[in-house]
């Protein structure tokens, strides 16, 4: 909780043509902290994630990473800065093995011909899934043969492997059963223990209260408020989300 400040969003404003998607949003994230972003459909949560990950650039306002102003040209620039996203629809290549997904776009090579170092990618993937206790048959398994929870485990493991600062999770458990959700939540706890800053979007308030240190509420692009999870309750959050006191 008392980690260094990793990300600062200052007065972020985003409009698509005349439609305002986000107005005047400010938030700080510290290392080892989990902040939950909640709000109804269309509140602007995913837009905000896309701004932080460099997919959209804000109309005005600025983003600071480690205290320095960061203007991401695109998603790969944000990735190079140590920001990883776990997308709602996973972004895995289904017919490829786990280890190729783990290194997708960042494959390891060896030798003068720069041939793929499959052995090393397989080994490092195996070490990573073992460390995070993601239970998959092997690093060589094809993604399409895995369950939804195992796939989400792979996606989160990938983010962990590459993120040095910040992990953005967009509804990581939306499609999962109870047991699988518990496993993914345990994974998120591990990321936190690794001193990464985590921003999570979730529709499940139970989950938000289980995982987060702070809760940030959005309603129709407007930042309603930020609460410390320990000092608030579901009733307050629900009324903030809906606007009904």
């Amino acid at each position: 909780m008392s980690g260094a400040e990793v990300l600062a969003l200052n007065n972020i404003h985003k409009a698509f043509g005349g439609v305002v998607a986000i107005q005047d949003f400010s938030l700080n994230l510290k290392a080892g902290e989990v902040v939950a972003l909640v709000g109804d459909n269309g509140a602007g949560k995913s837009t905000l994630i896309k701004i932080i990950s460099g997919v959209y650039s804000p109309t005005s306002g600025d983003i600071e990473l480690d205290g320095e102003k960061a203007g991401f040209r695109d998603a790969s620039a944000a990735r190079e800065m140590g920001i990883e996203v776990v997308y709602q629809d996973l972004a895995l290549a289904d017919q490829q093995p786990v280890y190729m997904n783990m290194f997708l776009g960042r494959e390891l090579t060896k030798g003068p011909l720069n041939l793929l170092d499959k052995k090393r990618m397989r080994r490092e993937t195996q070490e990573l899934v073992d460390e995070l206790d993601v239970r998959i048959p092997s690093a060589s398994s094809t993604i399409s043969n895995l369950s939804g929870g195992q796939r989400q485990g792979v996606a989160i493991a990938r983010a962990t492997h590459w993120a040095s600062k910040l992990v953005l999770l967009d509804e990581p458990t939306a499609a999962l059963g109870v047991a699988e959700t518990a496993r993914v939540e345990a994974l998120i706890e591990q990321l936190k223990a690794k001193d990464l800053a985590i921003l999570i979007i979730s529709h499940s308030l139970d989950q938000v209260f289980r995982l987060s240190d702070r809760i940030c509420v959005l309603r129709r692009g407007e930042q309603i408020g930020v609460r410390e999870t320990a000092k608030t309750d579901k009733n307050e959050i629900v009324s903030m989300i809906t606007g009904v006191a």
């Binding site: 998603a75 790969s76 017919q95 997708l104 720069n114 041939l115 793929l116």
Partner: protein, 317 residues
Amino acid sequence: MTRLSSRLHGLDFQQAVVYFGFLAIFLFFAITLYDDGFLTQRNLTNIVLQTAPATIMAIGLVFALSAGEIDLSFGSIVAVSALSCAVALQSFPLPVGVLVGLGVGVAIGAFNGVLVAYLKLPSFLVTLATMGLFAGIARSMTNLRSIPVMNETFTGIFGSGKLFSVPSLVIWTVLGVAAGHLLYRHTRFGAHVLATGDNPRAAQVSGIKVPRVRLYVLMICGGCAGLAGLLYAGRLQAAKYTLGESDLMTVIAAVIVGGTALNGGKGSVIGALLGSLLMGMLNNGLILMNLKVSDQMIVRGLIILIAVAVSLRDSSR
């Protein structure tokens, strides 16, 4: 032990089909056509020589299909490349002819690729159009005349020659398959091709330059078609607008039977080689059986239908 079992696990049904089909058809012809000389070394070598251009085209198509694209124009590229090369060889030395032939192939592939990758047109329609376009250009280039290739070094290297008593077309086949397999299975580019065909959005957010991959695979297709054109010109010692015209169906069938998915993300260069040899064996066997041309077409069509049905079964539904 675990390596082996994971290897066996990875060898799925669809990719195994081509091996069994290959063996089954080989054995069938070996037994029924034994007296007609199917098993003679000369006949078997002939099959490999005749399929060499189709195998080279098939390698290119594996890349295009794996990236989720298709190239229907490669047959026309074969003709235009072969004719360009033959015309160039009439007044220029061998290296110029070779470069012109290959360069024309790559350039047409790049033309397809730019339309697909950057104007975001579907490759099926783009290459359907360029197939017709370049078939027309092949006809008008030399007014339907065939151009003889007199350069004996050229016909040696790309046709009837031998190196250490191995026919040059066999060497081209082996080199093509080896280079294709290496690029496909063991380089970052190959991995990016597969990821692009598998899930373009995942590839994109992982930093893979998806449009560039699409451009390159169609250029590879064009380059392979160009090389196939040189092999035809070398073997036949002439180039004509009809070269490559009848290869479209055979090559697509060879690639699909060889375990490459029509909708991307999965494929095999070695499988395409086997698929191509299988098609060649089929042609050869049906001729040795003394079937009429019309019957050959019917039987070949039916066998391709069965082979494709078996190898695609269960892949998406």
